[in-house]
């Protein structure tokens, strides 16, 4: 890592993480079938990929991925960038990104790559890195801490309301962040930020294992809204290939602060993630809205943890799982009310929808209450997409495929309305595309 010319605190932190990782073993408690991963075979640091190795033109890209780009209506230059094709010509979003950065600078907002932050704002990084997800946290987070190559850093100063959605999309050709991505967002007192991660387009990627870490710090009175659309390569219809997405995402909310996670997970062969909230300060609020779709041989074990520490803390969980063909979908969530969390409240709703008879939906709620004043509600439903619902739509002139997409989108409405507008529209299209071929 000396190659990255990092300050000493960073190097020491990585070394501590690495030594700790050597003593750990892979966890196997999730409801997933995972083929063994060879950690020696992984390239832990790749200098920005040589553009010569990538595909030369769109003709070299999997036609199915290209068809998806077209259906999503992605402009050609952006298609090329997403597919990893060298785009040296001036790219529309570069100029967009520049004006965008100027505006943020005026407000004192820092939004840059992680390596830039380590050089330019070491005091902030040193103070907050690992403050929510310590390097000892879990196998994959520890591995990430030791070897993470880059990621995003964001700081919103006191009382500032970030005027636009911050999106990693603006940096798509600025940094190839690779498989061990690290994101740290710090919202200072009374500030607000909405952050979008990912992109609805399937990214070309040769890395099998993705072990990212996202840490959110919401200081007193701050609000962080974090939205994800994940659509990495899920493998083919037979279950060959595809990304393993083992991500640690967690936020810490101080007094009167609010954390809101919204995720739409349609990609990856295996998704394993639990965006969580530590409701540390009094009156802090945590939210988790999730749509997870598994089709073909995809597997997902996802959910959240709401850890109530402060008084009068509130959390809401809305999870929508959709399983099609042979997909397996598990919701796993923990609601922990600590002894001192006087007046804490949680509401959880977990709905599953099945398409076909070979797929599965599983729910594992863990509720742990140590304060008698807490109010915890949990609701769960499982429904099978009805033949008669599809027939009803068909009888009105709507094709079976459009009918399924419409019914599933209706099922996910409560989550989609939490997404920023354009993202929600894309997410709806994406669900439709991901479900193609699931009705016969």
């Amino acid at each position: 890592m000396a190659k990255k010319n990092e300050p000493e605190f960073m190097l020491n932190w990585r070394l501590r993480a690495y030594r700790h990782w050597l003593k750990m073993t892979e966890p196997h408690w999730a409801h997933l079938k995972v083929a063994p991963v060879d950690y020696q075979a992984i390239s832990y640091y790749s200098a920005p990929k040589s553009k010569k190795d990538g595909p030369k033109s769109l003709d070299d890209i999997d036609p199915e991925i290209r068809a998806t780009y077209d259906k999503l209506g992605i402009p050609l230059v952006e298609q090329m960038a997403l597919a990893g094709i060298a785009v040296d010509a001036v790219f529309d979003s570069v100029s967009v990104a520049t004006t965008f950065k100027e505006k943020l600078n005026e407000l004192g907002i820092v939004f840059c790559s992680f390596s830039e932050a380590v050089q330019e704002h070491p005091e902030l990084v040193e103070k907050y890195l690992g403050s929510v997800v310590p390097y000892t946290d879990n196998f994959y987070a520890t591995l990430n801490s030791a070897v993470f190559s880059d990621g995003s850093f964001c700081y919103i100063p006191k009382g500032v309301r970030c005027p636009m959605e911050l999106s990693t999309y603006f940096r798509i050709n600025a940094a190839n962040t690779g498989q061990f991505e690290r994101t740290l967002i710090v919202a200072d007192e009374g500030s607000y930020v909405s952050y979008l991660e990912g992109c609805t387009a399937p990214m070309r990627d040769e890395n099998q294992l993705h072990a990212a870490v996202v840490e959110l710090v919401a200081l007193p009175g701050a609000t962080i809204k974090y939205s994800t659309v994940q659509n990495w390569y899920p493998g083919d219809a037979e279950g060959r290939g595809g990304i393993y997405n083992f991500v640690t995402k967690r936020g810490k909310a101080f007094e009167n602060a609010k954390l809101s996670w919204t995720q739409v997970e349609t990609g990856s062969a295996i998704t394993w993630k639990y965006p969580s909230c530590i409701l540390f300060g009094d009156n802090s609020v945590g939210e988790f809205y999730s749509v997870a779709l598994t089709s073909n041989h995809q597997q997902a074990d996802t959910g959240t943890k709401m850890i109530h520490i402060g008084k009068n803390t509130k959390s809401t969980i809305v999870s929508k799982g959709i399983s099609a063909i042979k997909g397996q979908n598990s919701y796993r969530g923990q609601v922990l009310i600590n002894k001192g969390a006087e007046g804490a409240r949680n509401y959880s709703q977990c709905d599953s929808m099945l398409l076909g008879s070979e797929c599965g939906a599983h729910t594992f709620p863990y509720i742990d209450v140590h304060n008698p004043t807490a109010v915890v509600e949990h609701e769960a439903t499982t429904s099978k997409i009805g033949e008669d619902q599809i027939f009803y739509c068909q009888q009105r002139g709507i094709s079976a495929e459009d009918a399924v997409s419409m019914i599933v989108n209706g099922f996910c409405k409560e989550v989609f309305r939490e997404l920023p507008m354009e993202f929600a529209v894309e997410a709806q299209k994406l669900l439709g595309i991901s479900l193609e071929g699931s009705v016969g």
């Binding site: 739509c393 009888q395 009105r396 002139g397 709507i398 419409m406 989108n409 209706g410 409560e414």
Partner: protein, 256 residues
């Protein structure tokens, strides 16, 4: 408009329709009556294209082989069925659902798709026609609707989609008298020389408000008797048991 010849339908090996013959011309209203379990709903479902049945026979719709078409293509060609039990689609607004359906049909006909404003204008006009509240458009399709509201919503959809052949499958069941009158008035407004309407019902009650041109009795999986509007009254007076006692004789010879 519709010509059915020797239509047979089986479900899980059980024969339900045993050779139905029926001709319906444009501008006519036909009523199909019969006791429970005699195949009335099966007939409606088979015509609409439900794939749970094994079907034999021939059905010509405006000169085309109806049985060869997918359900959505039948709908786009102008076949509409009002459901005995309209289904709920949570989270999908009625206006979005109906606009999608209408535009799929318009596209099929080679017409311009309607934008949101044009659709809303049309939908509101039809709602007024049926004396229905605009709030229907905002609610999820049939979700939390009463039985009567669901039936009215189906008739509203029918008015917007402007079909050629309307099949009403026991639309009167579960309706109170006021709702029945509203539904019947809606259907009567849909009567037109280039449209045919087939009303499937168990009771004569609906036919007090919708006067049919032809009444058929479906019994034992066949059209057992065909007559004019007065046949319904005769059935009401004598009951279906009357058919068992030889009343069915000679039915097939009645040409409509």
């Amino acid at each position: 408009m519709l010509e059915i010849k020797n239509l047979q339908a089986r479900v899980e090996g059980k024969q339900i329709l045993r050779g139905v013959d029926l001709t319906v011309n444009a501008g006519e209203v036909h009523a199909i009556m019969g006791p429970n379990g005699t195949g009335k709903s099966t007939l409606a479902q088979v015509l609409a294209g439900r794939d749970t049945y094994e079907v034999e026979g021939e059905v010509l719709y405006r000169g085309k082989d109806l049985l060869e078409m997918d359900p959505e293509d039948r709908a786009r060609e102008g076949v509409f069925m009002a459901f005995q039990y309209p289904v709920e689609i949570p989270g999908v607004s009625s206006s979005y659902f109906l606009k999608t359906a209408l535009n799929a049909i318009r596209k099929h006909r080679g017409e311009e798709e309607l934008d949101a404003m044009e659709f809303l204008t049309l939908a509101k006009e039809k709602l007024r026609l049926l004396d229905m509240d605009e709030v229907f458009l905002k609610r999820s399709v049939n979700e939390g609707f009463s039985g009567g509201e669901k039936k009215r919503n189906d008739i509203f959809q029918m008015a917007v989609l402007d079909p050629k052949l309307c099949i009403l499958d026991e639309t009167d069941s579960g309706l109170d008298i006021d709702a029945l009158k509203v539904v019947a008035a809606g259907v009567n407004k849909m009567r037109s020389p280039d449209r045919a309407i087939v009303v499937i019902t168990h009771y004569q009650r609906l036919l007090e408000y919708i006067t049919p041109d032809v009444v058929h009795v479906l019994y034992g999986g066949k059209i057992a008797r065909t007559g004019g509007a007065d046949l319904a009254l005769e059935l009401e007076a004598k009951g279906y048991a009357w058919l068992e006692q030889g009343g069915a004789k000679g039915a097939a010879s009645y040409a409509s």
